[in-house]
């Protein structure tokens, strides 16, 4: 049976195609203004990439903030459920997930069957999310994709004390004015995200092994800062960004 999972996030839309427990293809595009259109486009793209006809898809599950805009889906689940399913598929031993997406971050605790035991989400605040990193990248005039590599060169991460994205941005601007090194400021930003996320992780009661998912998992600097802060190893899957879509496609198979 071939199934599809579509994850419409605040910044990117992701799609994954599954056949009999195997991942055939995955695709990421920007969500943009129209979530419904993004869902349609990422689905068409992933199908043409995999060379599969629409009619061959037995079931579709949608997830993410735009899950209800995917009208052609058979069912929708929250991204909490889908990230759990995705992580469990990628590594059945995983007991905790840290998901850092565009507009929110979550800590999800799994039981030994990969079912969600508990979860915590960030409050109405962009600090500790992908959006926060985007704002900082703009202030520092650095490509966001270079953040990770630059930050691990830092020997003395700057201190970012503000908990708010807006205030943190002005703090970063004053650090630039003081002449602090870019890589140190970036490392400081990563540490502030790690501090923010680790308090959330503390609330849910983290258990090892831990996997990080969501777009921010691509940033090695954040992963290192989190590992340091939590004092534990964090598994990064090459499919971290499409993990929600993978979970959705996986769940679609059991509809």
């Amino acid at each position: 049976m071939i199934t599809a999972g579509i994850d419409i996030g605040s910044i990117t839309a992701k799609a994954a195609i599954f056949e009999d427990g195997k991942l055939l293809a995955a695709k990421v595009i920007f969500t943009g203004y129209n979530a419904e259109l993004a869902g349609q486009k990422v689905y068409d793209d992933v199908l043409s990439e995999a060379g599969i006809d629409k009619n061959a898809i037995a079931k579709i599950v949608s997830t993410g903030y735009g899950r209800n805009s995917v009208k052609f889906a058979d069912k929708s689940y929250t991204e909490i459920m889908c990230h759990a399913a995705g992580a469990h598929f990628l590594n059945p031993h995983i007991r905790s997930i840290i998901d850092i997406g565009g507009q929110d971050s979550k800590a999800i605790l799994l039981d030994d069957k990969g079912k969600v035991k508990n979860f915590v989400m960030n409050d109405k605040c962009a600090a500790g999310t992908g959006r926060f990193l985007e704002v900082m990248a703009r202030a520092l005039e650095v490509n966001l994709d270079d953040f990770g590599a630059m930050s691990i060169k830092s020997k003395q991460p700057s201190k970012i004390s503000s908990l708010c994205t807006v205030f943190a941005e002005s703090e970063v601007i004053s650090l630039i004015a003081k002449g602090e090194q870019r890589q140190d400021i970036i490392a400081g930003i990563h540490e502030s995200i790690a501090a923010r996320v680790s308090s959330m992780v503390g609330r849910v009661g983290i258990k090892e092994p831990v996997m990080i998912t969501g777009g921010v998992a691509r940033n090695i600097g954040v992963v290192h800062a989190l590992e340091k802060k939590l004092g534990m190893k964090i598994e990064v899957s090459p499919y971290a960004q499409v993990n929600g879509a993978i979970g959705a496609a996986f769940l679609a198979a059991s509809l």
Partner: protein
């Protein structure tokens, strides 16, 4: 002339209460409630004409002595709920913030302080007070809030200080609070310039306690499956136990409401058409999102069968002494839900989880209400340890609609319900 003014007031009030129709879900009795509230506010608004006095009082404050003295009690917090439900909270809070009050302050306080300075708000504003009665058994904010209003209206303020009973009600606390009740009666004597009527107070208290018994019985009908009512219904019907307990009309109203509920139970009618999951709500309602939340949970076949908020108005019945009701007043008002330690609160929540047989706990982390929200993380942990049921935390505000993020809360509720559904299915297997 007097009659004309009264008629005019009635028109305004009928118009204002029309907005509350959306909560009148399925009870024939609610029309009576609307009428009663209209009469109540009309009387209060015309107090100057009828020579009656108006006292503003905190929601957890002892109202019975006011009723015994023929003083009309007005509740700025009840009004705050109205402001929230009419979605006027954000605007009024903004006004208070422009006046210099911090956005971290309670939204009821901000809205009330702002509303007093304008000719607006629901019901075109509250009737002006002749005196203020502030009891800090619900929070510390009320002290400063009432001081601000006492200065603004230039009226006397009585403060009843009820120390927090972290673990027990000590003899020292008892003596201290009891002596303040004597001062309270003396305060009312001087405000009304007549002797305090103790016999009348005894009568009012007996009626008040009877109302509380009735209210508890109404809430207890939710132990039935399906539940004939939801917490959203309780949030609506609670207006009378807050404002007019101790009067005979309220006894009649709740007697009829109880009969309606019992009838629904007999006929197996549930408040949520296909009740599959039962939940418990903690904290003050999100007044500006009642309809949305009630539909959201109902769409998951989930019924919020009970809550810690409406039950707070009958939670201290166990401390009532039938022989000497006046003597019980101090203990009844000191040991209320918000004035006890977190461990005690957790015990009460666990007792409710068992009593109403719920599948999950929804905690509203209310930005406004610090004493209510402060211990919630500990309570959540204790509940998870003791009963192992899923808990959901929703960050919002009771009256300030600016603190509500719909898509985030929607996702949280959906995910919470996914966990509950999966657990229930697994446990069936």
């Amino acid at each position: 002339m007097k009659k004309q003014i009264l008629e005019f007031l009635k028109t305004i009030l009928i118009f204002s209460f029309g907005k509350f129709k959306k909560f009148t879900l399925h009870f024939k009795k609610t029309k009576t409630m609307k009428d009663m509230m209209i009469v109540y506010y009309s009387e209060a608004k015309s107090a100057r004409l009828t020579g009656k006095k108006v006292a503003w009082i905190t929601s957890g404050g002892p109202v019975e002595p006011l009723i015994a003295m023929g003083i009309i009690p007005i509740y700025p917090e009840n009004y705050g709920a109205m402001i929230g439900a009419s979605k006027m909270g954000g605007g009024l809070c903004e006004k208070a913030e422009a006046m210099g009050y911090s956005s971290d302050l309670c939204s009821y306080a901000r809205a009330d302080i702002a509303c007093a300075t304008i000719n607006g708000g629901p019901l075109q504003g509250l009737p002006k007070p002749d005196m203020l009665v502030c009891c800090n058994n619900i929070c510390g904010t009320v002290l400063k809030w009432y001081e601000v209003q006492a200065r603004y209206f230039n009226v006397p303020l009585f403060i009843l200080d009820t120390p927090i009973c972290h673990t027990e009600y000590t003899p020292e606390i008892a003596r201290y609070v009891r002596s303040q009740f004597d001062e309270y009666f003396a305060f009312l004597e001087s405000a009304c310039k007549r002797k305090f009527n103790y016999d009348r107070l005894n009568e009012v208290l007996l009626r008040s306690f009877r109302t509380q018994v009735l209210w508890q019985e109404i809430l207890d009908t939710a132990t039935n499956k399906p539940s004939p009512m939801t917490a959203f219904d309780a949030f609506f019907h609670m207006a009378l136990i807050v404002t007019l307990r101790g009067t005979s009309e309220v006894i009649d109203y709740y007697t009829a409401l109880l009969a309606t509920m019992k009838d629904r139970v007999t006929r197996g009618i549930g408040a949520v058409p296909n009740e599959k999951y039962r939940l418990l709500w903690d904290n003050i309602p999100i007044w500006h999102r009642m309809k949305w939340l009630s539909q959201k949970f109902a769409s998951h076949n989930a019924c919020l069968v009970a809550d810690t908020y409406t039950s707070a108005w009958c939670g201290t019945l166990k401390y009532v002494s039938g022989d000497n009701p006046i003597y019980s007043l101090a203990e009844v008002y000191t040991r209320i839900y918000l004035n006890i330690g977190v461990d005690e609160m957790a015990k009460m929540i666990i007792a409710m989880i068992d009593k109403y047989d719920v599948d999950g706990l929804v905690l509203h982390s209310n930005r406004s209400c610090k004493p209510y929200s402060f211990g919630q993380l500990d309570i959540q942990r204790i509940v998870e340890q003791e009963r192992g049921i899923p808990c959901l935390m929703i960050e919002a505000d009771m009256a300030d609609e600016r603190s509500f993020s719909e898509s985030q809360i929607s996702t949280r509720i959906d995910a919470f319900m996914e966990i509950i559904k999966e657990r229930k299915e697994t446990s069936k297997k």
